[in-house]
């Protein structure tokens, strides 16, 4: 093993029933570097990480780590930790009801007695050393997500850590928090830790990484130095096709003055303040604003997802009452929720059952969709949206994130909605699928459907929406259309300098 290399994985193979998740994948991590692991959904990133951390046993290949003579076999996350491999997952896995110090040290000592004073002192030192803005005695749940994430990292690196794996650490952080996290990552890198950084955000890879390894369909595409691989090339390697598609996408600028499909006056729910809103048939509009600005709460009010407290709603010019999701569904409204794990998928049920769910509910309890029909619907949408699944019988929870999202999209498309609300449909999914979803949105609008789109990526909104509703502090503060739709203008409106 070379001197500067801390971890090598050679010829790693992993098979699942019907799927080759990893085939002959090599991966090399050097000391004091940040190595980005990139690939589309289902490329094998998570599987590789899980093999490395002992969650899955590997079906072939060898792993070597600095300081151990022979190839090692990792059978559990505990063993991985024993070899100095620590992981911080996308979902924060700490206990929010304990203090920061407790979270950093709990479960790490074999002693039954806890020296609270010592623990507080040591965690205080560590927090300060790593520049994490938290006090040891603070309850973790009260810290921002970024700080919680950093505490998780602090916990991970405090043991004798050679390899730190960060699996999508930034997906729920805002820009400033991401910067904080990067500072911490660079600091750890200086101290010689090798960091594996798994993310979907291209900009972040370029901001912080040294090397990139790209996987596609369970196979290694290559390892590259970041400065030698321009962003466009990287995307090409990830999706394996040219990006012309993206530039050829053109949004519709018209139909703003068409007949309103949906119109709300003073609509309010327990979670959102009263607001006015309308959307024409064939229009794509969007709500934008920072996290917590009330954009998600507003669209939830439209769908009746939270108890509605006031306002009048017209669909196709006729006044209707929408007080629960089923009311909205019966008016031809569909809603893809922001948090697909919590609000979207029924994880243990099959892809087929997940796809037909909304249509089935609209049809009613006494009119079940026959097995044959359900099978046909599922196959149709698995094909149309290129959902990667072993079969329509596979539990949806075992699919990758992007494919789960496609299943939920299929669920709503199957109901043939007139108006589709998409809250962060592209979050945490790969570039290829993102593009597909954006194209789909424009295609639907072409067919006369109305779409409301929410995304934290402003570029994506500008590409698809012909009208943007800007929210700040739970109020609508502006509406942009036509020439006003530029990144700078949107930013200014969000920030409050626009008027």
């Amino acid at each position: 093993m070379q001197d500067d290399v801390v971890l090598t994985m050679r010829g790693i193979c992993k098979y699942f029933p019907g799927v080759k998740a990893l085939e002959n994948v090599d991966f090399t991590l050097r000391k004091g570097t940040i190595h980005a692991l990139m690939g589309e959904n289902g490329a094998g990133k998570s599987t590789l990480i899980k093999v490395l951390t002992g969650v899955y046993p590997m079906d072939g290949g060898e792993i070597r780590i600095d300081g151990v003579e022979d190839a090692i076999v990792i059978r559990s996350p505990q063993e991985a930790q024993g070899y100095g491999i620590s992981t911080v997952y996308q979902e924060i896995t700490l206990c929010p009801n304990l203090t920061v110090a407790e979270n950093m040290f709990i479960g790490r000592s074999r002693k039954s007695r806890v020296d609270w004073k010592q623990m507080e002192k040591r965690s205080g030192e560590l927090l300060q050393k790593l520049g994490i803005p938290a006090r040891p005695k603070q309850q973790l749940g009260n810290c921002s997500l970024a700080v919680q994430q950093m505490v998780a990292i602090a916990r991970a690196v405090d043991t004798d850590c050679k390899v730190l794996i960060l699996d999508e650490p930034t997906s729920s952080l805002d820009d400033k928090e991401v910067e904080m996290l990067f500072t911490l990552m660079r600091q750890l890198k200086e101290s010689g830790v090798g960091i594996i950084f798994v993310t979907h955000f291209l900009e972040q890879v370029y901001a912080v990484s040294d090397q990139i390894t790209v996987l596609r369909n369970g196979q290694l595409v290559g390892e590259y130095e970041v400065r030698e691989l321009p962003q466009v090339k990287l995307v090409e390697k990830m999706i394996g096709k040219d990006l012309e598609d993206l530039s050829s996408m053109k949004k519709k600028e018209t139909v703003l003055d068409g007949e309103d499909f949906y119109e709300a006056r003073g609509l309010a729910s327990t979670e959102s303040r009263p607001f006015d809103f309308h959307i024409a048939a064939g229009e794509v509009n969007g709500f934008t604003g920072l996290l917590g600005s009330g954009r998600s709460e507003s669209v939830r009010a439209i769908f009746g997802a939270d108890p509605v407290t006031g306002g009048t709603v017209k669909v196709n010019g006729k006044q209707v009452k929408i007080s629960k999701p089923l009311d909205a569904m019966k008016q031809g409204i569909g809603y893809l929720p922001e948090d697909r794990k919590r609000d979207g998928i029924i994880a243990d049920l099959s892809v087929r059952e997940n796809i037909i769910l909304a249509l089935q509910v609209i049809q009613g309890m006494g009119h079940p969709i026959s097995r044959a029909k359900a099978e046909a619907f599922a196959d149709e949408y698995i094909k149309a949206l290129a959902i990667k699944t072993a079969s329509s019988d596979t539990p949806v929870g075992s699919l990758s994130g992007g494919n789960q999202q496609k299943v939920i999209l299929a669920r709503w498309l199957l109901t043939h909605p007139q108006y589709l609300i998409l809250d962060e449909p592209t979050r945490g999914i790969d570039v290829g699928t993102k593009t597909e979803i954006q194209k789909l949105v424009l295609q639907l609008a072409e067919d006369g459907k109305s779409i409301t789109f929410i995304s934290s990526e402003i570029e994506e909104m500008l590409r698809t929406c012909s009208r943007l509703i800007v929210m700040r502090d739970r109020n609508i503060v502006g509406e942009l259309k036509g020439d006003e739709l530029s990144q700078e203008r949107v930013m200014r409106t969000i920030a409050g300098g626009g008027e």
Binding site: I346, H367, P368
Partner: protein, 357 residues
């Protein structure tokens, strides 16, 4: 192709393996112990009608109430992610109502039907009470049903003014033992009817899909328009009907209602049947057939122990030992290591390699 289909079938029904193995082992054990254990004979009962007799018949017959309650318990478990521990008490209430109505006058076909419908309505109301505590007030099922568990048998006691009245009639006898001319015990027939009814409900409504959806992810179910409160309530009401049927059978067997002993402790066996059937007690996906097989396995075990002349005071202890084995066999730890072992075997003898493509 055919092979792929059968392996798919096994994968989908893997959870039935534990109750099936349990039943199989009990059968083998009994055959070794006493080859004539499962012999079935036809003999005349005290009214001169030919009827089936034998251990197998008494297992199937004796398990009837348990099987019916396990069916309803499966639904409640799946939808609410918890168990109803008041089913025995509720069956006692239903039985008391059944007897109370029949005490009012002559026992004829129509009055029996009326009494049965009345006890169904009563049990459904109590089921709705349990259900609304769980669905609407979001109380944990075991706590919510603890109320009726505690007071149910007292209510049953009040209904008949404290007595243990008897009802004697050929009709009641026909429900509890044999319909003249049919050699199969009536409770077995009632189980078959209940099974068919559930089958029809699952075939012609979306109940099963909704129950599983609510049990797996309540929030997502609501956002997809499923009435989550309604589904949980419905599960408890259906369990109420099961209690009424079980109570009616129990009363008809003896021709009297003893509110203290009718189906006593059956709630634990019903929950156990659901668990042995491989259903997740935390709710979500379910297989009712699993619970039914689980219930028969439990009954078979009881009868086997009695046949071995184990004193009735010791039966529970022996039962516990077998149940420990069954539950550990069905635990995730054992399941995982078994599947790993299975994979290893497969890899050493690669036969179905083509499947990967």
């Amino acid at each position: 192709m055919k092979k792929a289909k059968t392996s798919k079938f096994f994968a989908k029904n893997a959870q039935l393996l534990i109750p099936l193995i349990a039943i199989l082992l009990l059968v083998i054990f009994n055959l070794i112990r006493d080859p004539s254990f499962f012999s079935i004979g036809i003999s005349a009962n005290n009214r001169g009608d030919p009827v089936l007799q034998g251990n197998l018949v008494s297992i199937l017959n004796g398990a009837s109430e348990l099987v019916i309650l396990a069916m309803g318990m499966t639904l409640v478990t799946a939808a609410a992610g918890g168990q109803d521990i008041s089913v025995g008490a509720l069956a006692a209430i239903a039985g008391s109502v059944f007897v109370k109505i029949l005490k009012g006058g002559a026992v004829t076909g129509p009055t029996v039907l009326l009494a049965f419908l009345a006890c169904c309505v009563a049990a459904m109301l109590f089921g709705a009470f349990n259900g609304s505590l769980v669905a609407f007030f979001r109380i944990q099922p075991m706590i919510a049903t603890l109320i009726l568990f505690t007071c149910g048998r007292s209510i049953a006691y009040w209904i008949n003014g404290g007595a243990t009245p008897t009802v004697e009639s050929p009709i009641i006898n026909a429900i509890g033992s044999f319909i003249p001319g049919i050699p199969i015990p009536t409770p077995i027939l009632i189980v078959i009817v209940m099974g068919i009814l559930f089958g029809l409900v699952f075939r012609f409504t979306t109940l099963s899909l909704y129950v599983q959806t609510v049990g797996i992810n309540q929030g997502a179910a609501r956002l997809n328009g499923v009435n989550t409160v309604g589904i949980k309530l419905l599960a408890f009401i259906i369990l109420g009907v099961c209690c009424a049927v079980a109570g009616t059978i129990g009363v008809s067997r003896l021709g009297l209602i003893n509110h203290e002993t009718l189906l006593i402790n059956i709630e634990m066996d019903a929950i156990l049947a659901v668990a042995i059937g491989g259903n997740n007690l935390g709710g979500g996906k379910f297989k009712m057939l699993g619970s039914v097989l689980g219930a028969y396995a439990i009954q078979m075990l009881t009868i086997t122990l009695y046949a071995m002349k184990v004193p009735s005071t010791d039966v529970k202890a022996y039962k516990a030992v077998v149940i420990i084995i069954l539950v550990v066999m069905g635990s995730p730890v054992v399941k995982n290591s078994m599947s790993r072992f299975w994979k290893k075997l497969k890899r050493n003898h690669p036969a179905g390699e083509k499947e990967v493509a």
